[in-house]
């Protein structure tokens, strides 16, 4: 067994996975990664099950050190500066930390959350089939709370597989699509138009329970109290102050505020990644379009392994090139064709 030691980590970082399903009827919220595509990509890079537990890393920096053996990890999600022993590494790739080596991650750029999956998964005791942290319910393993510096994650150790990158489709840059309802009839036409036509920002006070939105006040027709009913990831509820809250995976399973609209499944991860303070808009779509997008998203997840590419030759050749230059040897030994293309690609991703 090797272990990955958390050398440094910011708030909003915890072990998360595909979530804890089937007990919402008992008040147990699903939790799980806010960006399931990035979670799946990170796991895919190291050959894990797509929704296995990984480290969800919040917007701040972090550092992880391998101990008692090598640890192979996959990194996906928000882009950041990343290096291992001063060697720069790219997001959407796997990498191996030799015993004692540290992976250092900078602040998130163009997103909020990154996922670090560990080859062989994270050792822990599942509750309802999940290791996901739900701090309020005292659930999550190996630590039922956000990660802190000094925490250690046990793992099977690196199996010596060659490194991979994953070619993800470009992230869509348009508005966040919603299906109106279930309680859009609690709002008049003007507030609904205001909701759809305004620019919104995510408040810095947001968390895994809900993202608070900053923008115009959305007024209710009949007051803000309804008899509680069930919630989903992406429910947009409007409390008494008229400032919408988008419910996230640690939400209450029921809520007593009218829900004007719901973020579609295919856009939920993209929404979750919007950094606090950055402007965005919503766009209403019909059910047929939302479900077609949900099916496309499910197919994207299912076929992720087809998007893996080898980077072994690229890494070896770059090192060989540097070694060759340092040594003053002939560069002609390098086949330019094998590294120029991935090299450009890697730079674009960073």
């Amino acid at each position: 067994m090797s272990k990955l030691v958390i050398s440094a980590i910011g708030p909003a970082s915890s072990v998360q996975d595909g979530g804890r399903h089937g007990a919402q009827r008992y008040g147990l919220t699903p939790s799980g990664a806010v960006d399931q595509l990035a979670l799946a990509a990170a796991n895919c890079l190291v050959g894990n099950e797509l929704f296995a537990a990984a480290i969800e890393i919040g917007p701040f920096g972090a550092a992880f050190t391998a101990r008692e053996g090598a640890v192979r990890v996959g990194l996906a999600g928000a882009s950041r500066n990343a290096d291992i022993s001063a060697r720069s590494v790219a997001s959407d790739t796997s990498m191996t930390l030799a015993d004692g080596e540290t992976l250092t991650l900078g602040f998130a750029r163009g997103g909020s959350f990154s996922y670090l999956a560990i080859e062989g998964g994270i050792a822990g005791e599942p509750a309802f089939g999940s290791l996901a942290v739900n701090a309020r319910a005292g659930l999550g393993s190996p630590y039922p709370r956000p990660l802190q510096a000094g925490d250690e994650l046990q793992t099977a150790g690196a199996g010596g597989a060659s490194e991979r990158r994953i070619d993800l489709p470009p992230v869509m840059d348009g508005p966040i699509r919603v299906v109106m309802g279930p309680q859009d009839d609690e709002f008049g036409d003007a507030p609904k138009t205001l909701f759809l036509d305004s620019e919104w920002k995510i408040s810095a006070t947001s968390d895994r329970m809900g993202y608070r939105l900053e923008g115009p006040v959305i007024k209710h027709l009949h007051g803000h109290n309804i008899v509680s009913d069930g919630t989903v990831n992406g429910s947009i509820q409007v409390p008494g102050n008229g400032a919408p809250i988008v419910l996230m995976p640690d939400r209450g399973t029921s809520g007593g505020y009218p829900k004007i609209a719901t973020v579609i499944t295919a856009d939920f991860g993209r929404f979750a990644q919007i950094p606090a303070g950055k402007g965005f808009r919503f766009k209403a779509v019909g059910m047929a379009e939302a479900q077609a997008e949900a099916r496309k998203f499910a197919e994207l997840l299912r076929a992720l392994p087809d998007r893996l590419r080898a980077i072994e030759s690229f890494d070896l050749n770059i090192e060989a090139l540097q070694d060759a230059n340092v040594a003053g040897s002939a560069v002609s030994a390098i086949d330019a064709g094998t590294w120029q293309i991935p090299s450009a690609d890697a730079l674009a991703q960073d």
């Binding site: 399903h21 069930g230 399973t253």
Partner: protein, 243 residues
Amino acid sequence: MAATLFPPRILPSGDSAITVEFSRNIDDAANRRVLALDRILARDPVSGVTETVPTYRSLLVHYDPVQIDFDALSAKLVALAQLPVPPVMNTRRWRIPVVYGGEHGIDLEDVAMTLNTTPDDIVARHVAGDYRVAMIGFTPGWSYLSGLEEKLHMPRRQNPRLLTPAGTISIGGVQTGVQCLAGPSGWHLLGRTAVRTYQLHRDPTFLLEPGDQVTFSAVDAKTFAEQDRAAEAGEIVAELMNA
């Protein structure tokens, strides 16, 4: 002649869940239909339905849009919701011990004062009630009970408390409730129970099911302390009256 069951409202909760709404209000008849549809879906699963969440007035049905689309599932749910409400067989009846008042129920005196009666009368009325678990929600094991007698109805607190103890028994509006974990609450705290409606390493993890019947019994502080130790060790403590 049996009254025709009106169709529920079908409300989209995004692309992967449907809210089947029987009423906009807290309504006993609507809650019975919610629980009936929940039982029907448990007995005869509809392919693609992944999870159901009953509430007072609606059933939230989570589903996988890869397996079934909105229109097909909506039509099925409307048809199933208008089937005659099946008789409830073998409803479980629980008796939950409560230590009322004092440090365990800090609002009992105020509630008695507001309702122009004595704390003993509040306790007697609360213990005499026959309740049903209408829904479980908010936090794990938080059980909302219907059947609170009208004399005990009172508005929630103006200022919700940020932290109330685990096991709190409280009243709010037309409801009474069993709260499992410590957490925020705007209800009036009458007492505490040692019963854990949610306990991770116990079988069953969740004690109460929506639809279960519940009554309360008054115990003294010493009994509560003993029961609390037993419950911590994994005992259920609540009595199943019709096992």
